[in-house]
């Protein structure tokens, strides 16, 4: 994989993430710039700030690193023909902890999809910083972003987006299909956990909507991601099926994955730990009120046992 990454050098990004803005943050105890020090599987990417080592807020730093995904002051502008650029995200601060289920709501055109694309490393911000699983991922090459998506991000789409030529188990293992090693067993395990143990070799055409979405969720979990991003996950499902899918999200969340769902569906809001509204690119209360940020986020990420096979 490293070779693939190295070869994928072309840069599509026009992002101009300015690390320096946050590099000074160590002084006020925020310690944002410091998270890159933990970077191992991703390149630190120039976001390191050695000054952060002076930070005596060790306590704080642990807390920040525990975010599954975070945006700080993120801007996203789209050029529009001739006129002023369209601002899709305006100075967005947003963070989700592992094991937290956050619903982002807002009217159409409010920037929800952009937010999801920026969070999911499908699109780069024009400004601000982006952190994933404790690593600065503001400016990555195309190959690095692909690698980071594979390793740390799971996607669930409204239209399921399964490949019609692949069976359920092959769809689940798609992210690893080109890697050495065989993920078929893990894919089958995941499908069994979502109650599809008897549908392993079915193609998407032979599955119901709810089943397809379960396959999609299983696919998003094949690489044990830090973050699961869902775009209208219940949008194409009836209420009952939608509820069962949301129940699956709860179980995923309990495994320590940060779950973020962008939605119009009030049902999703019921299941979410937090509901955040995005309006005209402005996000209110994107970071949870932290009375005691250390509580119960200690080791959830490793709690695979939280979901016993077959448990619903």
């Amino acid at each position: 994989m490293t070779r693939d990454t190295a070869d994928d050098e072309a840069e599509w990004s026009d992002a101009e993430g300015d690390a320096a803005v946050w590099g000074d943050a160590a002084d006020d105890g925020e310690g944002w710039s410091d998270v890159a020090d933990d970077a191992d599987h991703l390149n630190g990417n120039g976001a390191r700030d050695d000054d952060a080592g002076d930070d005596d807020g060790v306590h704080d730093r642990i807390v920040r690193d525990d975010y599954g995904v975070a945006l700080r002051g993120v801007m996203k502008r789209y050029p529009s023909g001739g006129g002023d650029p369209v601002v899709a995200l305006n100075d967005v601060d947003f963070a989700v902890r592992p094991g937290e289920f956050v619903a982002v709501v807002g009217p159409s055109g409010s920037g929800k999809s952009t937010l999801l694309n920026v969070l999911g490393l499908l699109d780069d911000p024009t400004g601000g910083r982006r952190l994933l699983d404790g690593t600065d991922v503001t400016n990555l090459s195309v190959g690095e972003r692909t690698q980071a998506r594979k390793e740390s991000i799971g996607f669930v789409f409204q239209d399921f987006h399964l490949l019609p030529t692949l069976t359920a188990v092959e769809n689940v293992s798609l992210p690893t299909a080109f890697d050495p090693g065989d993920a078929t067993d893990r894919a089958a395990d995941l499908l069994s956990r979502f109650g599809l143990g008897d549908r392993l070799d079915h193609e998407p055409g032979e599955l119901s909507g709810g089943q397809k979405q379960r396959v999609a969720i299983a696919r998003s979990l094949i690489n044990e991601p830090a973050v699961l991003l869902a775009d209208e996950p219940t949008g194409n499902l009836d209420t009952e099926t939608g509820e069962s899918i949301l129940a699956e999200f709860e179980r995923v969340k309990e495994e320590g994955v940060a779950v973020i769902a962008v939605t119009h569906d009030s049902l999703v809001e019921e299941y979410a730990d937090r509901v955040i509204e995005l309006r005209d690119g402005i996000l209110k209360d994107g970071i949870a009120d932290e009375t005691d940020p250390l509580e119960d986020i200690t080791s959830d990420r490793n709690a695979d046992a939280a979901l016993a096979p077959g448990e619903r």
Binding site: L122, G154, D159, P180
Partner: protein, 399 residues
């Protein structure tokens, strides 16, 4: 999907590592191709017709060239030296022949055999019929001719050697008696039929020992080389040696003409291949079209693959594998069709010499067409694959 690869990676080195991604790519590609069978089959058909055109026209051109080379055969390798009547030379003297021998006694011109001939005309009589024929006097017939019947003597001392045409006309074989210019001779050998044009025209001639002639000098001398090139070199050497002071001899050599004829057939072959190539290009365009359509249709799917972490290189592999599979299938079908077509033509056309058709050089055209077919597939698939693999997933998913 990658199950059986794991072991290979562990035992293999860099090579297996490079191949690693192709296996799942080919598997996926094959399934994608099965999705729209009609389209796939039509694209394969296009390639197979292109491959058929290249291979069949290539082989036709080659058979023509081979047949021509066969027919022209020896004339390119023979130089006929005759006295130059314009300067008053009536026959080749022993000095002239010695000069010729001296001129070609050089490894650089391939050391060709020099066969001086006396010449006359006369009636040749068989048992029941007679014909008018050229009568040659020759000492070493084995250097210039081949026998079909009987054995050519190293030194021709007695008896007659008769050309294939004369033997047929008069119904003669080795051991028979033939009347030549009034004297009875025993036929010691019958020459093999020559399919080539030669000023000596041995088919319609009889050959007697030199002793049967009382002439002062030779009518001509044959210089028999191994190849057209050495024949030309020999002719040049003879001109330089024998015609140095006086234009004593005329040289009749066809090597240059043979070169031109061969050049023409090369051109013809290239032209035919070019014709075939055009249809292969058309086939390539059809693959390009199929792949473009199919990648546009599957834009979202490709976007999903990219989104869930499949690298651009692997997407490229899948799509290249699709185009390559179309090309390979088309090439295989086209090659098989060519074999059938050529075999059918040979069976239906007795005039075509089977030996020319099963000549190994024709296999080269089959392989060439096969390679072109696969190559056209990959080249035509490259642009759509590159385009699809490099599309930003966020754009692809939006549609």
């Amino acid at each position: 999907m990658t199950g059986s690869n794991t072991r290979e990676i562990k035992s293999g080195g860099e090579a297996t590592g490079r191949l690693r991604g192709w296996r799942p790519a080919v598997t996926m590609a094959a399934r994608n191709l099965r999705r729209n069978r009609v389209r796939t089959v039509l694209a394969v058909l296009g390639v197979s017709i292109g491959v058929l055109a290249v291979a069949a026209l290539g082989i036709f051109g080659n058979v023509l060239a081979l047949g021509a080379a066969d027919a022209i055969g020896d004339i390119g390798t023979q130089v006929v030296v005759s006295p130059n009547a314009d300067t008053g030379v009536e026959s080749l003297s022993a000095t002239d022949v010695a000069g010729i021998r001296r001129a070609v006694d050089d490894p650089a011109v391939g050391d060709p055999a020099v066969v001086p001939l006396y010449s006359d005309n006369g009636i040749v009589e068989g048992a029941s019929s007679q014909t008018f024929a050229t009568i040659y006097g020759v000492e070493e017939p084995g250097l210039a001719f081949e026998s079909a019947e009987g054995r050519l003597p190293d030194r021709h001392r007695q008896g007659a050697i008769i050309g294939a045409g004369v033997a047929e006309d008069l119904g003669l074989g080795a051991g028979d008696t033939v009347g030549i210019a009034g004297s009875q001779q025993r036929v010691v050998a019958v020459l093999a039929e020559t399919q080539t044009f030669s000023p000596v025209a041995p088919d319609d001639a009889v050959f007697l020992p030199e002793s049967a002639f009382a002439a002062d000098g030779y009518a001509q001398a044959l210089v028999v080389s191994e190849s057209g090139e050495t024949a030309q070199a020999a002719a040049d050497a003879i001109r330089e040696e024998v015609n140095a002071r006086e234009e004593r001899v005329d040289l009749f050599e066809l090597a240059a003409i043979v070169d031109e004829i061969n050049g023409f057939f090369d051109l013809l072959s290239t032209f035919l291949l070019g014709l075939g190539g055009i249809s292969l290009v058309v086939a390539g365009v059809s693959i390009l079209n199929v792949m473009l359509m199919s990648t546009v249709e599957r834009r979202q799917e490709i976007g999903v693959m990219r989104a869930v972490g499949v690298t651009r290189r692997d997407v490229l592999r899948v799509l290249l594998a699709e185009a390559g599979l179309i090309g390979a299938a088309g090439a295989a079908v086209g090659t098989a069709l060519t074999v059938v077509l050529v075999a059918g033509l040979v069976a239906a056309t007795p005039a075509v010499d089977t030996n020319l058709v099963i000549d190994p050089t024709n296999g080269y055209y089959l392989l060439l067409a096969l390679g072109f077919g696969v190559g056209v597939g990959i080249v035509s698939g490259a642009y759509p694959a590159w385009k699809a693999a490099n599309e930003r997933p966020v754009e692809a998913l939006r549609s």
